[in-house]
Structures are given as structure tokens and as C-alpha cells.
Symmetry: C2
Subunit: 342 residues, 2 copies
Amino acid sequence: MTDATASAIPPAELDVVAVGNAIVDVIAHADESFLVEHELAKGSMRLIDTEQAGRLYDAMGPGSESSGGSAANTMAGVAGLGGRAGFVGKVRDDQLGEVFAHDIKAIGVEFVSPPAAEGPPTATCLILVTPDAQRTMNTYLGTAGLLTPGDIDPAFIASAEVTYGEGYLWAEPGAKAALTHAFATARAAGRRTAFTLSDSFCVDQNRAEFLELLDGHVDIVFANEAEICSLFEVDSFDAALAEVRARPGTWALTRSSRGSVVVADGVVHVVAAAHVEHVVDTTGAGDLYAAGFLFGLTHGLGFADCARLGGIAAAEIISHVGARPEAALTDLVPVDLRVLLT
Amino acid sequence: MTDATASAIPPAELDVVAVGNAIVDVIAHADESFLVEHELAKGSMRLIDTEQAGRLYDAMGPGSESSGGSAANTMAGVAGLGGRAGFVGKVRDDQLGEVFAHDIKAIGVEFVSPPAAEGPPTATCLILVTPDAQRTMNTYLGTAGLLTPGDIDPAFIASAEVTYGEGYLWAEPGAKAALTHAFATARAAGRRTAFTLSDSFCVDQNRAEFLELLDGHVDIVFANEAEICSLFEVDSFDAALAEVRARPGTWALTRSSRGSVVVADGVVHVVAAAHVEHVVDTTGAGDLYAAGFLFGLTHGLGFADCARLGGIAAAEIISHVGARPEAALTDLVPVDLRVLLT
């Protein structure tokens, strides 16, 4: 797709730029009975309003706050691996907005979206981590949901080799329009696009639009097993795989401890998961998988190696609380992959 | 001291109530060169103003936020052990103030101080954790420093068996006056008082006032090796011990991996440290030692067992990032101590 115009495309200044919800996570431990009592579907993300957020926060145990947001976590991972990443998302000029902006810039991501001077507060995600390390997310979108196509700087998008976006943006029409505008801008500049399906409930609510988006506007798709099965309304990973193999583009499908499967124009790569000593909190696993994959892809790795690097980044994030890397990710890249990086 | 009026003292509703700075910690990893570059004395606490806080935050790596404040951490520990704890401290009605209030109440501490509707923001402490797990603290006091004697509810203080306060309050005259007022209130109600020296620089700046306070107004003193040496202007722990043995009251002296020494009316108990698999972040070690000690003291343990429980609580807090307990502290109390608790 990009070949025809390749000669006219200037070298990319950034590896990946992402459009996503700018969110600060509030992470607390909870037992299974808490999820039952508050009617929360384990492992999923749901949107909550101010009142619901207040009620849930009052009931939750003590938390720790750290910057989050799915696509933002992915960009933090790309930067943590030594890649050049950018992020577009909306925060308020409040304390948590300052936290979000500080953290993403401190890890080396270009984040130039100005904070909003009015409107709802910076988005927060109340995350409950159960003893099995599963995370259940309750997102109050606040200012993050007010993203519009006007927030997309075409030059910023065009400067990146890949533009990445999250399905979560479908929660708000303006945010959705911002991403499709960014994708169109990227394609017009001869760049590639990547998209994560985000959440199986999210897929369920937006199936037709997601299928339409993926049909011709997206080069690389990220999905976990539940999401890809939901997309094609099938019951098994095998059935989903058959659907994916019949389609063009690159599909990176994650399967938790079973590793991942990459299908690129019908060719299948099956890659084992990286070893994790002790899974503490799965928040950010998919986000960091995408980070490793996209960093690899923009640094000359083949698909199987991209998947392996994705697994390594995911393994780091699930071994501690929080969805942003604590360890220096560059130190975790094995020598045999390091020598292949361009 | 309390014996004379013992018959007139009603049963305590709380085990411990603390007066302290209400602070949200911002914890980031940093290497040694960062401390050198920013002229930070490793292991210490310094006060910074708005401008210094902004400059340091800009230079710091990505952080994670969690409720802190030395005496507040201690109360969280007492509550985490199943004790009845209260806290008096000042936050603003901003996002971080809400975080502080939520977290301390969520762990079970009675916190009724209303948030200030105006003035500086909620206090933050920029904490840099070096690879050796040492923490270096930079506190922007904000609203926390505006505590005054008017914030002390005499009935709340009188309801607690022990009133606990931190030397850090000497940073502001009003906060200092609030604590001395609380101590006087506690004593008038026939209750006991406890005080932590907080920091060796803090001791250095307030030596005369601390010595005056300890001479007759404090029943239980907490100090680490550097602090107790600074207090008596001596070079060795042994020399400090001689000073302490000549004085009345209970002195709980912590020595990091060498455990702690308790001197009670001249009698010395030497207690080994609890085993820690891997020290990650020493933030809150002294705070949680005080928590275990005070919980033990108000639940019938002898001094040596109080010190042992203090060591167990400290061991939990230094095995992860952050100064509030992550594990259920009650599960960590060994059976031989548990059977002694009243």
C-alpha cells in the first residue's frame, strides 16, 4: 500500500505516534467478593460517570496512582525500549493532568497536547486487582473523552512511521473521529496504521464499525483471544484464526500465558510467552505487548521476533503493580534480538 | 505518670491518634548521579518551595503516587494490624487531598479533619529511590504546614490511649503548636504520648526544643541511629545509648538491618530485624516500625515483642515501593505474638 508513494515519503522522525485516552490509573487490591458485590465483570473495562466513580472509590481499598491509558502505556513502552514515540490525548490542567503529562514526557514520549483549561477533570481509571492478578477496570473518561479531530496535528501524525490507536476511543464520537482522522492523515502521508481492539465488550458494542475500519484502513491489528472471537462472533480461537487468515494485513493475537500468534497476509507465526516468575497485576499486558511489537517492527525485526519482544515487554509489566514499565526495558532485550535491531 | 489518675480515665476508644503532615508521595527511581546533580543528601528529608518542587519534578523520571506522611503511614500500619487509629492533618480540597483522605480512611483510620477550601495545594513529597533502595525525600508542605492548635479536637485526642506526633511538624510554628497542644491535651486526659525524631537534619535544627519536649512531655520516643546520635551530639550509638539509659521513659531506637534497641526506664532490650528477601524501597521503614510497636504496646505486648512486631511491619514496607502496607499486616503477625495480643 505504501510502496507506490515510497519514493516521496520523507524519513520518519518518530517510530510510532498514538492517539488515545489520557488516563491516570488508581489501582487497589480487591477480593472476588468485592467484584460480585459491585457487579463488576472481571477482566473487563466499563465506563462510569462521576456518581458511579465516587461510589466505587468510596468503597475501594487504599490505592496507588500511576499514569495509564492503553495507547499511552504502549507509547511509554516504545520509548522505554529506546524508540521514538509520540502521544495525542487530552488532560485537564489539574493535578492528575500534571501527573499524566509529567510521566509520559519523563519516559521520553513527545506529548504536546495542551491541557484543557475548563471542563471535566482528567480521566481516571479505578482498577481492582484480584488475588489472581486479573485487573477489572472502571473508567471515568472526563476530559480524555473530549478529544476531537481538531486535536490532531497532521504534521505530528505524518512524522511517525506508524500511527496507533485504541478501540476504547469509540466511547466518544469526537474521539473516534479524531482517530479516524489521524489514520487518514497517516495513510495520506504514506505511513502505516495500527489499531487495538481494546476490550471484548468494546468490540461487541462497535463490531460493525470496527470491521469497517479494519477493512482497508488498518495495517496492523492487535487483539486478545476474547476480542478477536468477539469481532468475528466465533467461539474458538481456531475459528477466529481462520477468519484472520483470509484477510490482508498483519494481525497480532495475544493469548496470555500461551503466547501470541501473528498472522501476516495469511502466514502464521506462533510465538511462546516470555517466562514470568510471579504474575502480580496483569494491567497493561496487552499494551506493552503492542509496545514491544511496534518497536520491533519499526526497528527491522521480523514478525516472529516482534511478537517475542512484545511478550518480553508484557512479562515485565505483569510482574509488578501498574501499567508503566519499572525496569529499563532496553536491558530486557535478549542479545539475539538486540543484534537484529536497526 | 498516668497511674495517679488511672481510676478516673475512661477506656480508650482508639489505640493511637497521630498528628502529622498529610502528604501524597510521588515516588520515582533515580540513580546516584541524579542526587549529585541536584545536590540531594541521600536518605534525608528536605523542605522545598513551589519553584524547587516544579524544577525537581520536571527533572525526575516517571513516578507513582501514593498516600504518605510519616505519622499518617504509622496510623495506616496500626489500622492494618487491626488497631483503632486516628489521624489529624490538613489537606486541600484538591485531587491529591481526595487521594490522601480516601486512602487513610479506606485502611480504617479515623480521619475527620475537613479539607481546606483555599490556600496552597495538598502537600507532596518527591521521593527518589536509588538502586540501593535508599529514599531521598523532598517535601513541598503546602496545606499540610498550615495545621494549627485549632485543628486539634480535644475529645478526639482524649479518646486515644496514645497520642503520636512527628518531629517533621517543627517545620511550621503552627503545626508544632498543634502537636504540643495535642500532647498537653493527651496528658491532661491521663493518656500517653509518643514522638518520632523524624530526621537527623530535623533534629539538628530543633535540638534544644526536642530535648525540652522529651524532658517530661513524651512517654515513648522513636529514633533511628543517626537521629539519636544527632540529638545527643555524639558519634556512636553506644554513646547515645548511655544518654538514653540515664533518662526516664521508653526509647525505641531503630538500626536498619541490625534491628532495634528498646530502652525502658533504663532497661535495655536488643531485638533482631525481621528477615527481608529483597529490599526494594526503604520509604516508610521507621513509620511502620512505630506502627508495629504502638500496636503491640496498646495490645498488651512487652517491649521486646513490641520491637519485634515493629520489625515485622517495617520488613513488609521495605519489600515494595511505597510507604503504605500492601500485604494484610495481620497475616504477618507470628502465632507466638498473636496469642499474646489483648
